[in-house]
């Protein structure tokens, strides 16, 4: 019985195998049939039609060449050129077509006296191993004169061509580099993202700033050109051409002359300075110091320069205007004050006594003025930057009320300026602390928050934007660098119940500059226009509320010096925010810089429209 079964299964296995083998033969027959078919096709092309294709290959003379677009130029608001394209010369070689590579190598060492002969030798060593039929561009710069000298003897060197191309040039060098950005070689990461068709023949792309943000507009699109060549690839003539569409020229809101002045005010100090037109959010000056020369990046920066910049202790690559996050210090006091009187935590005329310190929960919070300011109202608290007033006020308000007051001014969120990679800063609240630190808020933290210390962090651009909104008495603006068709004018407004509250706060800021006891009164006197400002001094280093002696501390631990302000008060034309890292007190360092910038900017305007800006006594 079991034998019978086994026999059956063997018979089945046999049957199975037979069928399988049949299908194998069938499949192989199919393979041979189709291979024969392919050979038939090849015979058709290579034998039957050989003459035709042979002729086509010999006469294969039409090839397509890409014409890269010219990158759009960038101008400042007064049509001064900030980013230009200039012709540069380069030599390229095709190994296959060269007769004597060595002779050209020697000629080149002679021609390019500026270049290191060893580098030329090293390049040629590599070149001899590369694709013999491809064209390689020599990585050595060729001046106009050298190009002219070469063109005279070029007949001796077949396979070597002199080409001219346009190179991005930043005529103002390092000025405004953090706003303008720069272009550089396309890297592999960028290559993956971009549309290859659009970048045929182009090897640069906007890497930072405006050059990056408006890449699409600046780039343009390539054209195509048919060229007729002989069988050895020499160009005989140009046939049809579809010209490239050049990139769009753009104008910025920057005033490059003001920008230069702003940067010069820093001397060798580190920090950032933003000037906005408060009426429309146009960025007039955008300084982040120190700077670097963007021209270094255009053809790829060399290792030596790159590591020098990268290892610079003052980090020139950091865009401090949008990525520097600093404690705002006392510059937030006008905003806190506005929230307090708006929500009736205090009346503007109510006076608080400042003995020079404020005690809370067994801890003594000191005022910057050790002897105290005595009895101060809101105006004096802003003008003299009285800490104690705000310590006491903040406890009544609580951190969330401060947060809600400042949030509409744009603190703690991106300004959405047209530069990529902006930082948000921090505007603390109970919820924020619970979410990020997982801990509840302590009231003591509210006290230091009220004078812009603790968790508070702002970027200089955020401060400038908030100042502009204050100057506008609540009209919210969008800071932007592109001078363009007007941005939507549907401006929103910081909601406020009592219009006079603006006056109370702004008067406090006017008295900072022009009041008898104002913290920056030294810089406010004898000005032909009225300024509203606020100084700030942000602690970098916790001194345990002990005695502060600037001389004893290393410079890196000095306080940051801050100032915000706008002018003229009655018809604001410029809003400024300045931060000088480790600059000491706000009134000493940042305030005079801002005032000088305002003066510089408004002097032209004053001479233009004298009557309009006559300030009241």
């Amino acid at each position: 019985m079991s034998e019978q079964l086994k026999f059956n299964s063997d018979a089945e296995a046999f049957q199975q195998k037979r069928l399988f083998r049949f299908r194998l033969y069938f499949a192989y027959g199919f393979v041979l049939l189709l291979f024969a078919f392919l050979i038939g096709r090849m015979a058709h092309l290579q034998w039957y039609n050989f003459e035709q294709y042979h002729g086509l290959a010999e006469g294969n003379r039409i090839s397509v060449e890409t014409l890269p677009p010219t990158r759009g130029k960038i101008y400042d608001r007064n049509h001064i050129l900030l980013a230009d394209n200039q012709p540069v010369y380069a030599l390229s070689m095709i190994r296959e077509k060269m007769e004597d590579i060595h002779a050209f190598e020697l000629e080149l060492m002679n021609l390019l006296e500026g270049s290191d002969p060893e580098k030329i030798e090293a390049y040629f060593k590599k070149f001899r191993k590369w694709n013999r039929s491809k064209s390689y561009t020599l990585p050595f710069s060729v001046s106009e004169e050298q190009a002219a000298r070469f063109s005279v003897i070029s007949y001796k060197f077949p396979g070597v061509t002199l080409t001219a191309r346009l190179k991005r040039v930043y005529p103002h060098k390092s000025t405004a580099v953090h706003a303008l950005g720069y272009v550089g070689r396309i890297n592999t990461k960028e290559l993956k993202k971009l549309n290859e068709q659009e970048y045929l023949g182009t090897n640069i792309i906007g890497k930072a700033g405006i050059e990056r943000f408006y890449e699409d507009r600046l780039h343009g699109s390539p054209g195509v050109q048919q060229i007729e060549t002989n069988a050895r690839g020499r160009i005989l003539r140009k046939l049809e051409t579809l010209p490239a569409t050049p990139g769009e020229d753009i104008h910025l809101t920057l005033d490059i002359e003001l920008q230069k002045y702003a940067e010069s005010l820093f001397k060798d100090k580190v920090g950032a300075m933003i000037a906005l037109d408060p009426q429309n959010g146009e960025v007039l000056a955008f300084a982040s110091m120190p700077t670097f020369n963007p021209n270094l990046f255009v053809d790829g920066i060399d290792q030596k320069n790159y590591s020098r910049l990268l290892n610079d202790p003052y980090r020139p690559f950091i865009n401090r205007a949008i990525n520097g996050q600093y404690p705002p210090g006392s510059t937030i006091k006008p905003f806190v004050a506005l929230g307090a009187i708006e929500n009736d935590y205090i009346s503007p005329t109510k006076k608080i006594y400042d003995p020079g310190y404020f005690d809370f929960a067994g801890h003594r919070y000191r005022d910057w003025k050790r002897t105290g300011h005595g009895l101060v109202d809101l105006n004096a608290a802003i003008a003299q930057s009285c800490d104690t007033y705000f310590y006491e006020l903040s406890l009544a308000m609580g951190v969330d009320a401060i947060h809600d007051t400042m949030s509409p001014f744009g603190f703690g969120e991106k300004t959405n300026i047209d530069i990529i990679g902006e930082s948000k800063g921090i505007l603390p609240s109970q919820q924020w602390k619970m979410e990020t630190k997982g801990k509840p808020w302590y009231r003591g933290e509210t006290i230091i928050s009220s004078i812009g210390q603790g968790y508070n962090l702002t970027t200089p651009l955020q401060l400038a934007k908030a100042t502009a909104i204050l100057a506008n008495r609540g009209k919210i603006i969008q800071p932007h660098l592109l001078k363009d068709e007007l941005k939507d004018s549907s401006s929103s407004q910081v909601a406020i119940k009592k219009i006079s509250n603006w006056d109370s706060v702004i008067q406090g800021m006017v008295d900072v500059m022009h009041g008898k006891k104002g913290t920056a009164r030294r810089h406010g006197k004898d000005l032909p226009f009225k300024v509203a400002g606020k100084t700030g001094t942000a602690q970098v280093f916790s001194l345990n509320q002990g005695k502060y002696n600037a001389d004893e501390l290393a410079k890196r631990l000095h306080d940051h010096s801050l100032f915000i302000g706008f002018a003229p008060v009655d018809n604001p034309k410029i809003a400024v925010a300045v931060i000088v890292e480790n600059g000491g007190s706000g009134s000493k360092t940042a305030a005079p810089m801002a005032v000088n910038l305002m003066k510089h900017y408004l002097e032209e305007k004053l001479t233009d429209t004298t009557t309009q800006l006559e300030s009241k006594p």
Partner: protein
């Protein structure tokens, strides 16, 4: 006669040679080495004598050969045990590609594993036929309708996950490798005929769902001369390269079409055109003879395999190689639309070479891991 066939496999000569110790099939290795040597020469020529490119190519071939030998060491029963897991992992990775894949040139095909980038569809080229073979490992011949249906379902699932990447070409080729298993497992002729009829009839519907670039490829294929400077350019230039090679060719390094940059992708998809231009019709016939010898050896291994699982894998992998060759040559000679597929074992390029050599490793393993006595 009958008895001899009923007997399980003839007892094999077990040579004590190095090749046997390494589980390598000498004939298959010989064919592969000849093809790979050709490949190095053509890549050198097509790249315009670029030593850096050629060196990279040689290194990849070396890696691929090592992988082939490694896979030849894995006995088929181990593969059998792991098949369901491999399939599950492959499907999960295909889903991951759809969800988190890297987008390159308009299609998500890559999975970034942090250290390496990985193309799961490449893995599926091997895993799918193995999985379908696994399904038929113990089935009768001809198999039940239910089993054929579940095989078809597995193929459809895999193919549809790849087609949405979107990668129509690869998806069709992978489906093909699974369908070969069904064919060798004994799919009834009636069903095969019906399927072919249905495919032809549904072509207009498929057209409707194609991406613009796929439609463009088909249109250009049908009439390349309408767009001589756009996508038809490749095919025209490729045909000129092949045709101008004539019977004897222009000689090694003599391709003007590739060297003057008329021929696109000359080291990868269009490398066959360079070979045809330099070695002519005789070179083409030699190459196809070499290929058919390798395929014949693969099918022979299938015929000698001891069980359903291994014979189905061996047959399917050999036929898949054939399809790749046919599609590539058909494409560059203007018989088929341009689908962007390398010429197996000849084209420059990493991942497809690796997958192919692993499949040869599996073939060798099937041939060299035999039980001397069967039950």
């Amino acid at each position: 006669m009958k008895l001899e066939n009923i007997q399980p496999q003839q007892v094999y000569r077990r040579n004590k040679g190095l090749l046997n110790a390494l589980h390598i099939d000498g004939w298959l290795l010989l064919g592969l080495l000849l093809l790979l040597a050709t490949s190095i020469a053509i890549v050198y020529s097509a790249s315009g004598g670029d030593e850096a490119v050629t060196t990279r190519h040689v290194i990849r071939i070396g890696i691929a050969l090592v992988l082939m030998i490694l896979f030849a060491q894995i006995p088929p029963n181990i593969i059998y045990l792991f098949t369901p897991w491999l399939f599950a992992a492959g499907i999960l990775m295909l889903i991951a590609v759809i969800l988190f894949g890297d987008v390159g040139k308009g299609a998500q095909r890559w999975l970034d594993l942090g250290v390496v980038k990985f193309q799961p569809s490449e893995l599926m080229k091997l895993v799918l036929p193995i999985t379908v073979a696994w399904l038929f490992a113990h089935s009768q011949f001809p198999p039940s309708f239910k089993r054929l249906f579940s095989g078809a379902l597995i193929i459809a699932l895999t193919a549809s996950l790849i087609v949405v990447q979107p990668d129509l070409g690869t998806s069709l080729l992978i489906a093909m490798s699974g369908l070969f298993v069904l064919f060798f497992a004994g799919l009834p002729w009636k069903v095969i005929l019906a399927a072919i009829t249905a495919t032809v009839a549904s072509a207009p519907i498929a057209w409707h769902f194609m991406h613009a670039y796929q439609k463009q490829r088909v249109l250009t294929f049908l009439n390349p001369e309408t767009d001589p400077l756009g996508s038809g350019y490749h095919i025209i230039q490729s045909k000129i390269a092949i045709g101008s090679g004539g019977i004897e060719g222009k000689g090694f390094l003599g391709s003007t079409q590739a060297h003057l940059d008329f021929l696109p992708e000359s080291t990868t998809d269009f490398i066959f055109s360079v070979l045809s231009e330099e070695f002519g019709l005789l070179g083409v016939i030699t190459l196809l003879t070499l290929y058919s010898a390798v395929i014949a050896r693969g099918l022979y291994i299938a015929s000698q395999a001891q069980d359903n699982f291994t014979r189905l894998i061996a047959a399917s992998l050999s036929m898949t190689l054939f399809v790749y060759i046919f599609v590539n040559i058909g494409m560059v000679s203007g018989l088929l639309p341009v689908v962007g597929l390398p010429l197996p074992l000849i084209s420059y390029g990493g991942s497809s070479m690796i997958t192919l050599m692993i499949s040869f490793g599996i073939l060798m393993s099937i041939h060299t891991h035999k039980r001397l006595l069967t039950d």
